[in-house]
């Protein structure tokens, strides 16, 4: 039901140019699909380069980007596959543009090698994964949460990744902006791990005034200073941008502070130490979580994405049934908020972790919890029924 004052936005809705000199949508209340909200957020965050390849259920992001990015002086280009999409982002990133793509499971798999390249070359970029049921082609049109571990461990070698998991259209919008800011600050690829329900759902969306939105820009290396382009002694180092007079070798090989490849063990140690450490040392600044009825909770539900919506309904139902249940919603599954889990696990009797997969985020929860942890797992292809979670709470509470 649409309320007065709400504006419906479709893939081909163009902006009212009179009122939006910045290119962002006018502040106000909209009725919008999650995938469209993601595009509007990217534009607000200053993203002007999109390289995409169609894949259900993320295609609406690409389709709207093809209309909106040219309107704001940006570019949305269709590549020949997802390998190419991800590689184009790294090129655009090193040319100084904020860059993004959106995909789903099979495309995310194809991007894995380039994700490793973006990580080792410290190229900020944003990849949105609107998760569907897998493995392989799975069920393209239905929800899944099976790529959570892939976002953490999918690319070979030691990586530390950053991922956000939205539970509503509004949060898909907000976290897309946050993802760009985090990518710019940490100079690393950042994932927005949405799912089919969040991506294709239509909900009310409040678009803020652009003046009220924090937008971070990466620090850029001054070509004249001849600074170390990969200074491993500092966590946040200015990025050399090609075309500014910086002669820079951006290499996928293990490289030293100058960017030159090296087989020296000390170089390997310092580079990996830097790449992992810049995220690990600042993990607490990245963590986001949300609590519901945590203060007196005895049984804790830990959930994320669309499953957190089922979990919220389940916690309310369990409370009505006399169980002191609470919900801890993980907004940043990666880096994993281990200290948060440990802290809350000391206050409760049990933790249940509902997921639309056969056990992924439950593992780091179990690794860090000081109480029993029970996974509630369901095959992808349908939302988690709240009663499934209530039943589990009944069992653990009694």
């Amino acid at each position: 039901m649409r309320r007065s004052g709400e504006v419906k936005v479709s893939a081909t809705t163009t902006i009212n140019k009179k009122n939006t000199s910045s290119g962002a949508l006018k502040p106000g209340t909209y009725f919008m699909m999650g995938n469209f909200a993601c595009v509007e957020a990217a534009i607000m965050a200053g993203c002007r380069f999109y390289a995409g390849y169609p894949i259900t259920p993320s295609s609406e992001i690409f389709e709207r980007a093809c209309v909106r990015f040219p309107e704001v002086g940006g570019s949305a280009i269709e590549m020949e596959d997802e390998v190419a999409s991800a590689a184009a982002l790294i090129g655009a990133s090193y040319a100084g543009s904020k860059a993004m793509t959106a995909t789903s499971g099979p495309g995310f798999s194809l991007m894995m090698e380039n994700i490793g390249l973006a990580f080792i070359t410290e190229a900020p970029l944003v990849i949105v994964n609107v998760q569907r049921a897998g493995p392989s082609t799975g069920i393209p049109t239905l929800v899944g949460q099976g790529d959570m571990m892939q976002a953490r461990w999918g690319s070979h070698g030691d990586l530390e990744t950053i991922a956000y998991s939205p539970s509503s259209v509004q949060e898909f919008f907000d976290l897309t902006i946050t993802a760009f800011n985090t990518a710019e600050r940490f100079r690393t690829p950042v994932f927005v791990m949405a799912d089919q329900v969040i991506g294709m759902m239509w909900e009310r969306l409040k678009i803020p005034s652009i003046e009220g939105v924090e937008v971070l820009q990466r620090k850029v290396m001054d070509a004249k200073t001849r600074a170390k382009p990969f200074d491993y002694a500092n966590d946040f180092i200015p990025m050399p941008i090609v075309g500014t007079g910086t002669n820079i070798n951006v290499d996928s090989l293990t490289h030293d502070y100058r960017g030159y490849p090296s087989t020296d063990y000390t170089v390997s140690e310092s580079m990996i130490g830097h790449l992992l450490g810049k995220i690990r040392r600042h993990a607490e600044e990245i963590w986001k979580w949300d609590g519901y009825l945590l203060d007196d909770a005895e049984e804790l539900v830990v959930a994320y994405g669309s499953t957190a919506r089922s979990a919220l309904a389940a916690v309310k139902q369990a409370r009505a049934n006399g169980i002191k249940a609470g919900l801890l919603r993980l907004i940043t599954p990666w880096p994993f908020p281990d200290a948060i889990i440990e802290r809350y696990s000391r206050r409760v009797h049990n933790i249940v972790v509902p997921e639309l997969n056969y056990g992924q985020i439950v593992h780091p929860v179990r690794e860090n919890a000081q109480c029993p942890v029970i996974g509630i797992n369901r095959a992808p292809g349908a939302l988690m029924d709240p009663t499934t979670i209530v039943d589990a709470l009944e069992v653990v509470a009694n």
Binding site: Y53, P54, S59, P70, D81, L110
Partner: protein
């Protein structure tokens, strides 16, 4: 390069010679008026029941959808980029089993069935490898000139001027500004045994081409013009009419390449203006009327004229 079909030794003299057997049954979940479906139906009639199909993501992945599974042949569904590579495994796997006497030679034919997204874009690398290795297989590309299955996004098979969901018509854009990739020449450069374009409005021509190919070993490749009423926004009942217009206006040349020698199997002598063809589809509607793009129309016509001039008929 005149047609020399009258001298061909063929079982297909007229449409009445079309095999009665059906390997693609009615009741598939494909859209009404799908041109590609007719092409596959005819291809399977020519290739017969011992055809093993390798499918990849695309519209015809839907042929497997139970209870609407309308294809009677065995089918392996491979990743988007990997159809011809999966076919390599099947062909070699069967050969090895036969050599080991673990299997009686099944006399099978392996048919890779993909849309233009896989053929022109993501799967081009795997196809290049398979043809280069001389893999004994068939490849049928149903070319509906965009990613039909995901909502009609642009592919490198999309013709100039076509609107798609990623090349929308806006104030600053008249649809796709790029030219259609010439897959025929790309594949031909790999020197396959047999290569042909086909159109369902010329079913006898199509059956003969499959017949001719099946007498050869090596890579046998087909690009089928495939009207897509959903994406092209055309009338489903006009599919064959539109297909015929594409052939007669010269937009879709019917030709074959045998060991590198190209022959046009049908030459449209009159060639009506391309507008007659373009006007049947709303994906081109912005080219006509008061705000239309005369320039784009002329460019499309010029490309067609230039093609037929270049082959010097």
């Amino acid at each position: 390069m005149a047609s020399n079909q009258t001298t061909i030794d063929t079982a297909y003299k007229t449409m009445k010679d079309t095999p009665r057997e059906e390997y693609l049954q009615p009741g598939s979940p494909l859209c009404a008026g799908c041109g590609g479906e007719i092409a596959v139906r005819l291809a399977l009639k020519a290739l017969g029941p011992k055809t093993i199909v390798v499918s990849v993501p695309g519209c015809f992945g839907l042929l497997a959808l139970y209870p609407y599974s309308s294809i009677e042949n065995s089918m392996l569904f491979a990743p988007f980029a990997s159809g011809p590579a999966a076919a390599q495994g099947i062909v070699d796997g069967i050969r090895i089993q036969v050599e080991k006497r673990a299997m009686v030679d099944p006399g099978s034919k392996v048919l890779v069935l993909t849309g233009d997204g896989a053929a022109y874009d993501i799967g081009l690398q795997a196809t290049s490898g398979a043809i280069h290795r001389g893999l004994d297989f068939y490849y049928l590309c149903y070319d509906n000139e965009a990613y039909g299955n995901t909502g009609f996004q642009f592919s490198s098979a999309t013709p100039t001027g076509s609107s798609t969901s990623t090349t929308a018509v806006t104030d600053s854009s008249q649809g796709n500004s790029l030219r259609k990739k010439n897959l025929f020449e790309i594949w031909k450069a790999h020197n396959p045994s047999y290569l042909a374009t086909v159109a369902v409005s010329k079913p006898v021509d199509m059956l003969r081409k499959f017949e001719k190919a099946s007498k050869m070993s090596g890579s046998k490749l087909f690009i089928a013009f495939s009207v897509c009423p959903t994406g092209w926004r055309s009338e489903p009942r006009e599919t064959v009419k539109i297909d015929r217009l594409a052939v007669e206006t010269g937009v879709w040349p019917l030709k074959e390449s045998v060991n590198g020698r190209v022959t046009h199997t049908y030459i449209p002598r009159k060639r009506p203006p391309v507008e007659n063809y373009l006007k049947t589809q709303r994906r081109f509607e912005h080219l006509f009327g008061a705000c239309g793009s005369e320039h784009t129309l002329q460019e499309i016509q010029r490309d067609v004229d230039e093609y037929w001039r270049s082959i010097s008929i």
